[in-house]
């Protein structure tokens, strides 16, 4: 077996040496491309690696002498490190990546604090305590075909990050000892953020690292998760902070935002989340008779009232349009009513009736106008049909008169007198 393997390696080596006459001698890949499993690294694979493209070689990380074709290539004398231990990986990567002076020659704008960030993360702290199951640099970034994060094939491209994290965090067996949930990726896949990224192609949509950090990955605490959400959802956060819920949630130890909207499986919010029905989130705390319960019902009524009014106007405009009337001006105004509905759905985060009513009322004013325009279009249509009816009467009259006249003049025959 071992003889076979060595024989095979030597043969490949011989072939490779003859074929690569004139190229930079790289005995590492010459052998390792023939080896199996973890030891298998091909020149094609390594050519995709960003480090290789910048001129680094196997020896840059692993040491050794690629110009030698015998065992001395992997000698201690040549500085060969062999397989890098997991616990040693961050330090090895950091030996270049945390050195601004060194990195400057490749890309001055690249950050050089990844290692220090990592050391503050849960992964970094546990690694320092001796747990080698946690993620190190190579687990997320790859190793011999490492691509920059902007490359869509990279494991840390925004589209791929969640999958990369879930390789461990979604594996129940692997995570059994840690006693944290493993359903985050499954939940995230049902969320609007995932949909925004994957289906709408919005790369600015949040993925795991957006809220948890990438190198300094740590879950945000109960008191601070709302700050994470508020970096994008500014208005909702501001209104929430000014609302009675902020103090109430803080004293109950409940996280803002997440309590109603969940953290990973954030689904598209609907008006049914308001109000007092079974799907409402308000009834999780409020019960019949308390002030909040009343406000919840009021908010729901307001917002769904505006939505119904918009639908009503849309329907009459559709009817007018399908009868051939042109209603583009009213459609434009409907867009403004929809803007008002969007704003109302933001102002519900004040959890007070008055601000919401202000937005809803401005929307209702517009829908009243567009509904009137729809009615006007239908009236115009009816006016046209009446006009047509009258002209048809005139036409029938003329046709009848023609018939009678023809009959009259042909009393003596069709060929004339």
């Amino acid at each position: 077996m071992r003889l076979n393997r060595s024989l095979g390696a030597v043969l490949v080596l011989a072939a490779a040496v003859t074929l690569t006459q004139g190229q930079q001698p790289n005995s590492c890949v010459d052998c390792h491309s023939a080896l199996e499993g973890e030891l298998h690294v091909t020149p094609e694979q390594f050519a995709q690696d960003i480090h290789a493209q910048k001129g680094l070689t196997c020896a840059s990380c692993h040491g050794g002498d690629p110009s030698k074709t015998d065992e001395s290539a992997m000698s201690k004398a040549a500085g060969f490190k062999g397989r890098i231990e997991r616990a040693a990986v961050p330090k090895l990567c950091g030996s270049c990546h945390s050195d601004p002076g060194f990195m400057r020659q490749y890309n001055p704008s690249l950050r050089t604090d990844q290692l220090s960030q990592y050391q503050t993360s849960v992964h970094g702290k546990r690694l320092a305590a001796g747990d080698t199951k946690v993620a190190v640099c190579t687990d997320c970034h790859g190793v011999h075909d490492l691509r920059p994060a902007s490359d869509t094939r990279s494991k840390v491209h925004p589209l791929n990050i969640a999958t990369t994290c879930s390789r461990c965090h979604g594996d129940t067996q692997y995570m059994a000892a840690y006693k944290i949930p493993t359903n985050q990726f499954a939940s995230y896949k049902t969320s609007v953020h995932h949909e925004a990224m994957v289906e709408r192609g919005d790369l600015s949509a949040p993925t795991c690292t957006t809220c948890h950090g990438n190198h300094g990955a740590t879950p945000p605490g109960v008191g601070s998760v709302a700050n994470v959400c508020s970096t994008c959802h500014v208005f909702q956060a501001q209104l929430f902070d000014a609302s009675p819920h902020k103090a109430a949630f803080a004293s109950a130890g409940l996280p803002g935002c997440v309590t109603c909207h969940s953290n990973h499986g954030i689904s598209k919010p609907g008006d049914a989340m308001l109000g007092t029905s079974a799907q409402s989130v308000c009834t999780n705390c409020h019960t019949q008779g308390d002030a909040g319960y009343k406000v919840a019902g009021d908010l729901q009524q307001q917002v769904s009232g505006l939505e119904a009014s918009i639908t009503r106007s849309d329907r009459i405009l559709n009817r007018a349009e399908s009868s051939g009337m042109e209603v583009s001006q009213a459609r434009l105004e409907q867009d403004q009513a929809r803007d008002a509905l969007t704003k109302a759905r933001v102002s519900v985060h004040t959890f007070a009736a008055a601000p919401v009513r202000a937005d809803v009322d401005s929307g209702l004013k517009i829908t009243a106008k567009t509904f009137g325009e729809g009615q006007g279009a239908l009236r115009e249509r009816d006016y046209r049909r009446t006009g047509l009816g009258m002209s048809l009467v005139a036409i029938v009259f003329v046709v009848a008169a023609l018939k009678l006249y023809i009959r009259e003049i042909e009393k003596n025959g069709k060929s004339g007198s």
């Binding site: 994008c232 500014v234 459609r331 867009d335 969007t342 005139a394 009678l404 003049i409 009393k411």
Partner: protein, 154 residues
């Protein structure tokens, strides 16, 4: 049963009557066709056809450092008068989720109220969710009218 007499003699008075009836009917129907044509020939009061060019407002309508929404074809446009006295016009449909943007005098930027998207006065998307810039329009002042037109396409 008619007699030979009746088939032979067509009453001239009846024929004349029918002739007048027919003539009158034809004349009336001709009028009913001419009437819409005559109305059609009169140009409507709103002479602007939308499309490429539109009168977005009048000089003096906007205070410096303010903006207004105007209709451009079937979509809204934003006309702004900057502090430098320059008129600028952009498409007012946010490139994120199509809300209508507005001019913020305090920030001297264009802002979308829905999700806090920010654009500069040339329409470039600066921050927030918008993925693309707003389309720019050309502005010319003719007399006391501010004319906004689409940039020429190939």
């Amino acid at each position: 049963m008619h007699s030979a007499q009746e088939t032979q003699v067509a009453s001239p008075a009846r024929r004349r009557f029918l002739g007048m009836l027919l003539g009158g009917g034809l004349f009336a129907s001709a009028l009913s066709f001419i009437y819409p044509v005559l109305r059609y020939l009169v140009p409507p009061s709103l002479t602007d056809m939308g499309g490429d060019t539109v009168v977005a407002g009048k000089v003096g309508e906007l205070r410096p450092n303010s903006g207004k929404i105007f209709r451009f074809g079937s979509r809204p446009g934003l006309l702004m008068l900057g502090t430098d006295g320059q008129y600028r016009a952009l498409s007012a449909t946010c490139t994120h989720l199509s809300c209508t943007v507005q001019y913020r005098g305090d920030l001297r930027q264009v802002w979308c109220a829905c999700h806090n998207g920010m654009y500069d006065l040339a329409g470039r998307n600066l921050s927030g969710p918008p993925p693309r810039p707003l389309e720019q329009y050309d502005v010319h002042v003719r007399g006391d009218e501010i004319i906004v037109s689409r940039r020429r396409e190939a």
